[in-house]
């Protein structure tokens, strides 16, 4: 394929991925409201459109029409930049996550990920670390006590859980011997998904993912009874929408990452034996990826409405004294498995 074809195919992939992800973020908000309602014996939004399915657009319209308030003590430039950083991080990590095997149409073999980077996993880790900047800058630049406390707490929380996240990923990398997400997915053939081979690593990674995305039970930085709204107290209208979208986009990335690293990516066990046409097989695998991602997202939403929130000292205790040693034990376990089974 010459350069022009590569550019066109990449552009098409970018447009498809970004638009699907934006729509998914909007509908994740809708499903969060519906599922939280069902878990509380009530019906969620059901007036706008069929069963309330157009509710995200109503929300978006409301946020666009609101007045943009900036507090007097705020540092205006940084106050405006913080949601942009959050959205930048949230939307650019989609580039390296594979959502299907190679698609073979009309003689072209198209890998189903926007950028097949050699260091994909490291790219995602680096970008999520940048996400800490967004929250810290938001907390500091708002010029209010609650925001500062929320921002600082959130930064400390995210940094603490990045350690155990990194070590859990180290366990996966030992297995796959590569940082490419495609190689990691392909190393989990058959039933040997990483969730089954490295259960401790799976648990520590999932818990760290909850903490990274500031999601209950780790959502003290934005808890209303404690901090009024944490780092996004002083944000309104589109800047708030930026943070809001970034949080849900982060959730989607976290679940896509969990599926890629631990749940076998787009693989369906033993689908090779059915000998289907390649295009159909690819579509089924993409469907499997989406299904697994939706299942993990449902788990994120389900946990939010079932567990109480951690207090800040309990949270830091858990991150450093429990998750970190467990992830180290996980690395030792994986190394032992590799030594024994080769």
């Amino acid at each position: 394929m010459n350069v022009l074809e590569i550019v066109i195919v990449s552009l098409i992939k970018i447009i498809v991925v970004v638009s699907i992800m934006l729509v998914m973020v909007a509908y994740l908000v809708y499903f969060e409201r519906k599922i939280s309602a069902w878990a509380q014996n009530r019906i969620g939004p059901n007036r706008v459109g069929w069963h309330g399915a157009l509710q995200p657009f109503a929300d978006l319209l409301k946020l666009v029409l609101k007045e943009d308030i900036v507090p007097v003590n705020a540092d205006r430039k940084i106050h405006a930049i913080a949601p942009i950083i959050a959205l930048l991080v949230a939307l650019s990590t989609y580039a390296v996550i594979p959502f299907g095997p190679d698609l073979e149409i009309a003689g072209f073999t198209i890998p189903l990920l926007v950028a097949d980077v050699n260091i994909g996993v490291l790219f995602i880790l680096a970008l999520t670390s940048l996400g800490v900047y967004a929250i810290t800058l938001a907390g500091w630049s708002s010029g209010s006590k609650y925001s500062l406390l929320g921002g600082v707490r959130s930064a400390a929380q995210m940094i603490s859980y990045e350690v155990s996240m990194g070590f859990s990923i180290a366990g996966v990398l030992l297995f796959a011997e590569s940082l490419r997400p495609v190689a990691i997915v392909e190393s989990q053939y058959g039933w040997m998904w990483n969730a089954i081979v490295q259960p401790i690593g799976f648990i520590t990674f999932v818990v760290s993912a909850f903490a990274e995305t500031n999601r209950l039970p780790f959502d003290l930085p934005e808890a209303e009874p404690e901090l009024v709204g944490g780092f996004h107290t002083e944000y309104s209208s589109m800047k708030f929408a930026g943070f809001f979208l970034a949080e849900y986009a982060n959730m989607i990335i976290a679940s896509a990452f969990i599926v890629t690293l631990y749940l076998g990516g787009w693989q369906i066990p033993y689908i090779q034996e059915l000998n289907l046409a390649p295009v159909l097989e690819t579509l089924l695998c993409v469907g499997a990826f989406v299904f697994k991602m939706v299942a993990v997202l449902f788990f994120f939403l389900w946990v939010r409405w079932s567990l109480p929130r951690f207090r800040y000292d309990q949270l830091m205790n858990l991150g450093w004294k429990v998750m970190f040693p467990l992830s180290l034990i996980n690395v030792v376990w994986v190394a032992a498995l590799i030594m024994i089974f080769g």
Partner: protein, 167 residues
């Protein structure tokens, strides 16, 4: 009565209770089960709440079968109303009762739905109905005259039965 359950310290928890996972599983299963149970929400305005007889809705004047109100314009309801919402103007009439209310106005914005007017009325002429749907767009619209207050007696039977039995 001296039995007070001792507060368990963190050291007293068993291993499974300390790692908290069984509690997490119990919480998650409760939430999941609740998601599939029927919901209690009444979807207004398709389904409206029908209150029982004891409900105190807006006050209405009882209209007998022959189209005449029972009210004799004694003015007791107006005197007892804590919010000063009722205004009565009496006048002579040819019927058997001595007086009738020429003007009977309740200011629904002032009304606090306490039911004192219904309790004090000697003729059972003003009762609290079941109506709760009151929305106005300006203050003048909220002053209800006799035309909006007269309700036939057969619609108010629930409330009258409740009053006779309990009050």
């Amino acid at each position: 009565m001296e039995t007070k359950t001792k507060r368990r310290r963190i050291k007293d928890l068993s291993f499974w209770e300390k790692i908290y996972i069984p509690e997490i599983v119990k919480g998650l299963s409760l939430t999941l089960r609740t998601m599939f149970k029927p919901k209690f929400t009444m979807e207004y305005p398709e389904v409206k709440f029908d209150p029982p007889g004891s409900y105190r809705g807006r006050p209405v004047l009882v209209e007998e079968e022959n189209g005449v109100e029972r009210c004799v314009a004694c003015g007791l309801c107006s005197r007892v109303c804590p919010a000063l919402a009722i205004e009565v103007q009496a006048a002579e009439t040819e019927l058997e009762k001595e007086r009738y209310p020429e003007k009977f106005e309740i200011n629904m914005i002032r009304c606090i739905f306490c039911g004192f007017c219904e309790e004090v009325c000697p003729e059972e002429a003003i009762v609290m109905s079941k109506d709760y749907e009151l929305a106005f767009t300006n203050r003048d619209e909220a002053i209800y005259g006799k035309d909006k207050l007269l309700v036939p007696v057969n619609e108010l039977q629930d409330r009258i039965d409740f009053l006779r039995q309990y009050k």
